[in-house]
C-alpha cells in the first residue's frame, strides 16, 4: 500500500468498529466513505460514521483565538503549536473483510490491529465491495452516535459514483433496504427520499 495514501492510524479498536487518528488536522474522510485497514492477515473494510477534532489533552479546553485575526488561517500562523495540540479522529463501522481475495460481508474474526494504518478505498474497491449488498443489514441494525440512516444514505450516494449506472445501483440498494425495513415504512421512506439527492 502506498505510503502517501495512508491517512490515519487505528487508535481504538473493537470487533464492530474502530477509531483512527488522522495524520492531518481536519483530514478525516467524508461521512459515509469507505476506508480499509489491516488486521493480522486480512484487510478490513469500514464505513466512516463520525469524525471529530479536539484537543489532545482532555484537561485543556480549546479556547477561541481569532478575535483580532484577519482570517481563520491567521490563527494558525499566529499559534503554530496549535496543529500539534489538536487532533482529528474518526470512527468507522466495520462492514466486511477481504480474505484470500474474497470479499466477505460480515464481521472479521478479530478486530483491526492497533496502530494499523488506515487508507481510503479507491472507487474500484468500492465498486467490487458493493457488488453484493448483504452488508446493509450491519448498517441498518447498528446503534451509532449518529443516525445510521444518515450513514447509509451517505455511503450509498458515495458508492453509487463507483458504478457505471449510479441510478440502477441505487434502485438495487433501495430494494434491499426496502426488504430490511419492510416493517418500518416511515424509516424506509425517509431513507429513500435522501438516497437520490
Amino acid at each position: 500500500m502506498d505510503l502517501k495514501q495512508r491517512i490515519a492510524e487505528v487508535v481504538e479498536t473493537s470487533n464492530a468498529e474502530f477509531m483512527a487518528q488522522c495524520y492531518n488536522l481536519e483530514g478525516a474522510p467524508a461521512l459515509g466513505s469507505m476506508v480499509k485497514t489491516k488486521s493480522k492477515d486480512y484487510d478490513i473494510y469500514a464505513i466512516v460514521y463520525s469524525s471529530s477534532t479536539h484537543g489532545i489533552d482532555p484537561n485543556r479546553r480549546i479556547i477561541a483565538r481569532g478575535q483580532n485575526a484577519g482570517s481563520e488561517a491567521d490563527i494558525y500562523k499566529a499559534n503554530p503549536q496549535l496543529s500539534k495540540l489538536l487532533s482529528t479522529d474518526f470512527r468507522a463501522l466495520i462492514v466486511g473483510y477481504n480474505k484470500d481475495k474474497a470479499i466477505l460481508q460480515y464481521l472479521p474474526p478479530s478486530p483491526a490491529s492497533i496502530y494499523a494504518f488506515v487508507y481510503p478505498c479507491d472507487m474500484n474497491e468500492v465498486r467490487d465491495f458493493t457488488q453484493s449488498l448483504n452488508f446493509l443489514s450491519l448498517l441498518t441494525d447498528a446503534r451509532l452516535s449518529v443516525s445510521p440512516d444518515e450513514v447509509i444514505t451517505a455511503f450509498l450516494r458515495y458508492a453509487g459514483q463507483s458504478h457505471p449506472s449510479p441510478n440502477d445501483f441505487l434502485v438495487k440498494a433501495g430494494k434491499e433496504i426496502a426488504w430490511l425495513l419492510s416493517n418500518d415504512i416511515r424509516r424506509l421512506d425517509s431513507i429513500l427520499k435522501r438516497l437520490q439527492k
Binding site: 433501495g174 426488504w179 419492510s182 416511515r186
Partner: protein, 541 residues
Amino acid sequence: MSTDSDLEKRHLGKVISGSLAQGVHVKLDPVRSVEDIAVGRYIAISGQKKRFFGMITDVSLEAVDPRALIMPPDISDPFIAKVVSGTTTYGNISVLPMLTIGSDVAGTMEGPQPAKTVPSHFSEVEFASDEDVKTVFGAEDRQRFYIGNPLDMETKVCLNMEELVKRSNGVFGKSGTGKTFLTRLLLIGMLQKSRTTSLIFDMHNEYGWEGTSEKDHKVKGLKQLFPGKVAVFSLDEDYDKRRKVKSDFTVKIGYNEIEPEDIQLLKYILNLTEASVQAIYELAKEFGDDKWLESTFNLFESDSAVLIEKLKIHESTWRNLRRGLRMLQRFPFLVRRAPEDTVKKILDYISSGKSVVLQFGGYDDLTAYVLVANLLTRRIYNLYRERVDIATSADTKKPDQLVITIEEAHRFLNPDIAAQTTFGKIAREMRKYNVTMLVIDQRPSGIDEEVMSQIGTKITCLLDNEKDVDAVLTGVAGKSELKSVLSKLESKQQALIFGHALPMPVVVRVREYGSADSYKELGPLNSGESGKKDQLDDLWN
C-alpha cells in the same frame, strides 16, 4: 428448445401460498408489472417432482406492511416508485393448478393428469411455453382441429373432434360475441376431422351459404367449403330465389305430421293457456293423431259449437286455441299433405355421410323454428334409435355419429319442457344411440340443469349475467376462479373452452375465419395426405 433468456422472459415469480381448491398464490417478480398479466393465461409451475399447468384466475395488489398502504410512499418520484415495486408492494397472481406432468419418463408417457396437489412453497412460476401447451392439447392431426390460440401465445389449441362429438356440446355467449363464428368453425372441424354428420337447424341462414361477419363482409358457408359433404334444405323457396341459391330440397310439412306434443312445446310462443293444451289432446283423441290439426282447422271455418260442447271445451279456451293455431296456418311450408317425406330425405342424406343444413329462409321467427326443429328431431330420433337397436341386435355397424345443432336452445330445453322434448331426451341419453347435440344459446340459465350437466364440452364467449355464468359453470372444478375469467373475456373472438374434449379449461383467441387464406385450411382434407389415406382406408373396409 427454450433458452435461458426465453425462460427469463417467461419467469413470473414464486409460489407463496394457496390450496388446491382455491388455487395457489404467486408473488410476482419485482420486474413484472401486474398490468402485463392477463387473467386466463397459461402458467407452468416447476414443482420439486412434477410440473404443474394452470391458468391465471386473479391478479391482486399486496403490501408487506399494511401501513404502507395507509401512508403510501411518494411514487410520483420515479426512483421511489421503482424501489417499492416488488418490495414494499408487490403483485400477486392466483393460479389454479389443473394438470400435472411427472418429470420422470413414466410421468411423461402417462401424459397430463388432473392436478391432485399443489406445487411446494417457492416453486418457480412462469408463463407456459409453446411446447407446454402442445403437450397438453396435442398438435393438429387427423382428429384434432385447430380452434384458436391461447391468449398472447402463438401455439395452436386443438380440439379432438372425434372425442368432442361423443357428447353433447354447448356454445354460449351474449349476443354479438361470436357464437355463430365459433359454431361455424366447430361444424367445419366436425366435417374435416371426424366421421360425424350434422343436422343443423339454421334459424338465421348463416351456415349453409354465405353469412355475414360483424364487419359486414361475406364469409363462406359450409356448402361452399364442403360442396360434396353438405346438403342445404330450405323451408322458403322465395328466399332461395332472392339469394340466388339453389337448395337441395325444399321442405314441406304435412298437417298430419304435427302431433299435440309439438304444439305443447309452442305453448308460450303461441300464448296458449293450459286449458288450450289440454283441449288439443282432447281433439287428437277425437280425430286421431294424424288428422287432428287438419280437422281442427276445418272446424275453425265451420260451426264448431256442437263439438266443443261434446269435448267440454270452454268457449274462451276455444277462442284462445283458435287464435294460437291460426298462427301456424300462415306458414306456407305447412301443407295438408307433404309431397315427400322430409325426414326420410334427411336421413337418406345423413346415411350417405352428408350433413344437412336446414335453412329457415324468411321464417326466422321462433314459432317456425321450434315447431320444425322439434318435429323433425323427434322423428329422426325415433328412426335413429330404431336403426341403432337393429344394428346392435344384428351386430352390424352402427350408424355414424349424428350431431344436431340447434340455436335458441333454451326454448327447447327450459326446465318446464326439457323433460318432454326430444332435445331433452337426446341431451340426457342419446349418446348411446350415436346422436348428440350442439346447443347454441345466449341464455344458458334458461336451460334445464339436468341437461346442462350432461353437456360434455362447453364453449363460452363472454357472458356477464350472473345467472348465465353460474349455469355454465355448474359442477366445474374451480368454478369461482373460472367465473372471473369468463366475465373478463373480450367481447369478440375470445372463448373459454372446457369439459370433456379438453384436458383443462382454456381461453382461446378464436382462429381467423373469413379471409382467403383461412379457407385454404378449412376446406375438405381430400387434397391432403390424410384425406387420401382416409379414402384408402374406406376402400379396404
